[in-house]
Symmetry: C2
Subunit: 491 residues, 2 copies
């Protein structure tokens, strides 16, 4: 058997990999390429060692490894090459192999459920002025967070590097329960709270835990895209329900014809129109949901930043045992990269059976961040930060309103703004919001098209959703002038 091709590759220079490693790789390659015929004997370890001028031990180790991985078979008759299928793969050209996969998948490389998940027109740089959902990043007291994190690291026993409770650190769940009871009127105990990777994982968890594929989910129209994506990803039948000035509108017959399993709503500050869900509708929604066995998913994403009037209390706390899954996040109150959110389960769902299933699905972790966050809340730093940010956002919103009134000469209507980090500006249909946003992106301004929030946009859904959380107040005059120029050019 010709083995010269083996030796010619062995390199014993100073930076070379160990000889046995090289030999194993070469032998594998030769076998896969068919250079050793299947079933044929390999040279004895002694013969090969002499031929390659290496130690016999090196060859023995290589043969042992190849035997362990199934390339060769060692038995009484010696060492033979295994019967391997011809290695067609390596002969494929990349494109041909891809084509084969695509053909085998009948052109459906990806899951069906991904089809409605529209790619957003989102800028790759998500810190442009007017970007939605961003808090004031450079006003975050990062030095305090460093201290809290370092304290957690310092105090943490080695055990806290492990998985921990899949539902989250008890200290954080206690701190959140206390905070929600006081500031949002949520009825909850620490044991009802599941810590998640931001609101998005909380929504996905609702889908995983409480729906079957093809179940119906109602979403607000226009509404939060993240919720729709989570529902599509869970193979739910997503039905859009229009929103008016009093929040989501449910046609009475819908309870019969499209009975829901989940109802997504942002009652305190509808996303993105800013409507407050009226008490009449809240009570009706709770009563009907209870009757048909649906869960209301209350996404309370920005009510910590209330700018006018008293806080609107949560729907969850409106009455005992409301069929509400309350979702919250620290992405806006702290910072997005923290990825901390939570789900508050109704008491009737906190059975040991469900908790143990959740424990199988979630993995816990991020314990140091959670402990640092708990300390941040308990020490009062969180409340003080919220207070400072509330004032800052109020100023920024005021500046944005002023700039809109002064410089946006096209007829428009400003919606929302009683809380949160964004304003919605409805525009006449003559100005395409998608085109406006595309042009704005070109000059580095990042508002979002209102129509992008709707599954089937109507004329009412034409406009801009403008984030002011991460944009300084003094910039709005310039920015709105710029947008006005684009509007004029488009209309």
């Amino acid at each position: 058997m010709n083995t010269t091709f083996l030796g010619s590759f062995l390199d014993d220079g100073p930076n070379a990999r160990p000889l046995q490693w090289q030999l194993i790789q070469r032998l594998k390659h030769a076998i896969l390429q068919g250079q050793f015929p299947a079933g044929g004997k390999l040279p004895s370890s002694r013969a090969l060692a002499e031929e390659l001028n290496i130690s016999r031990n090196t060859v023995l180790i290589a043969y042992e490894q190849l035997t362990a991985e199934g390339y060769i078979i060692a038995d009484r008759q010696g060492t033979r090459v295994a019967q391997l299928k011809s290695h067609q793969g390596s002969k494929h050209h990349t494109d041909a192999a891809t084509a084969l996969i695509i053909k085998a998948n009948k052109n459906a490389l990806y899951a069906e459920r991904l089809k409605p998940i529209a790619a957003s027109q989102r800028a790759s740089d998500r810190t442009l002025p007017m970007t939605l959902g961003l808090p004031a990043l450079n006003h975050f007291p990062i030095h305090l967070w460093r201290k809290a994190y370092d304290r957690a690291l310092h105090e943490a026993p080695a055990a806290s590097l492990g998985y921990g409770n899949p539902l989250g650190e008890l200290a954080l769940r206690q701190a959140i329960a206390h905070h929600l009871r006081i500031s949002r009127g949520v009825r909850c105990e620490a044991s009802h709270i599941v810590i998640t990777e931001g609101a998005q994982e909380a929504l996905s968890l609702c889908v995983k835990l409480f729906t079957n594929p093809k179940d119906t989910a109602w979403v607000e129209e226009p509404g939060y895209r993240g919720a729709k994506n989570a529902f599509y990803a869970g193979d739910l039948n997503v039905i859009a329900m229009r929103v008016d000035n009093d929040g989501i509108v449910i046609p009475p017959q819908a309870w019969l014809t499209h009975s829901p399993r989940l109802i997504q709503t942002t009652p305190s500050h509808q996303y993105p129109t800013g409507a407050v869900l009226s008490i009449t509708r809240r009570l009706d929604l709770i009563e009907q949901a209870r009757r048909v066995g649906a869960w209301i998913v209350e996404d309370d994403y920005d009510s910590e930043f209330r700018h006018q009037g008293e806080p609107i209390a949560s729907m969850q706390g409106l009455m005992q045992d409301s069929p509400v899954l309350y979702v919250g996040t620290f992405s806006k109150t702290m910072f997005p990269a923290l990825r901390l959110g939570f789900l508050v389960l109704p008491e009737c769902l906190t059975s040991p059976a469900l908790i143990s299933v959740i424990s199988e699905i979630l993995r816990g972790g991020h314990r140091l961040e959670q402990l640092a966050m708990a300390h941040f809340i308990e020490s009062g730093q969180f409340s003080r930060h919220l207070g400072r940010m509330r004032r800052l956002y109020r100023e920024r919103q005021y500046a944005l309103r002023e700039a809109l009134a002064a410089h946006l000469i096209v007829e428009h209507q400003v919606l929302g703004g009683n809380s949160g980090l964004h304003l919605t500006v409805r525009l006449p249909k003559t100005v395409s919001d998608q085109m406006l946003v595309a042009e704005a992106l070109k000059i580095g301004i990042g508002p979002t098209a209102l129509s992008a929030f709707a599954i089937e946009p109507t004329e009412e859904d034409n406009g801009l959703v403008i984030g002011y959380g991460n944009t300084s107040a003094e910039r709005f005059h310039f920015l709105i002038k710029q947008l006005n120029n684009i509007v004029c050019a488009l209309s």
Copy 2:
């Protein structure tokens, strides 16, 4: 209209909430309880202010808030109470409300898909000796990690508090790609890598992206429970494939009768039996998967800790464009609470369309941890840590083997151990592994029952899976003696 019940609750003591807040709560409560008849006029603001001896402005603000939330309607005829449905909810007793929800849900409070997700017999304290999947927590160089994290915090511009690239920080993706090419033979670029919350999110992502409900997924039997749970949660038809000494066994007709969409496998070190998937089977699996359009999910969970022989290279790198989704994690190489893992997509799947869908599903974040991890790898600290741990785990495994040979007097067979953090010990059927584990837990020892890894356990699946990652070498003699006592008592 009698309003005395309002005044009697107003408290202006030093720690009281603002009067307007109290007034709003009381008015809401009175309206919800039906103490103000629907459609009835409220007293004028002036009259109420005089009656309660508070400023008229306080009453005006309260009325404004109630109007905004829909409790009252203000029009030309004055201020009237809205027509609300009777507040049945508050009359429900907790149990009655729960019963109603349960009834409406036809006893199916939770998703169907959760049924096969068996609750594990896992100890609540997951740091017991012999616990599976835990690295040596108190040998982790936490001071180096603190430095790396603090450096990331210090260097990070405010922008890095934002969402960031949903696929992960480029620096970390580059560091992982480089590391995988060299140490695992994976063919990849940074652009193929998606950072996930540990291996579990990577598996869930495979399900979300590449399967439809009722698709078939093959899993190793016995095999990794996390994969099965992710597949069940995605409504897949999970089919168990037995494992022998050469890894997963696929009956040829299964490709026709139960053609899979996903094939879960741990080829380098089968979990939990430790078998290495032979090259014959690897090539066959790749060829057949390509033919039917299936994806092989290669979970390479512990191959960094190779104890005997050369590393077994990844299946993904065996040939170009293999239909392999490669999954890895830092839970064992660093620490579980870090929650960092990754998915390597085959090149043909890195189309802009799929990347933008992933960007809609994932949210990025944990940027500081990711930057710290990238630094940890690039600076060589990661490799040095791996080297130290490899030696430590080798010692621990050796001690465990010695202890088993010396003290476990029942007939048994030790499987696996060429890499990783655990050994599997097969036991005779006369000793129930579930009972053995339950008894061990009572005395604070946390091995796992081998049968818990199988969907339909056979006699072969009776035994213990013993983690040695987080248990000191010198403890094994004592621990195995304890287990042996239990075995003797049980048999």
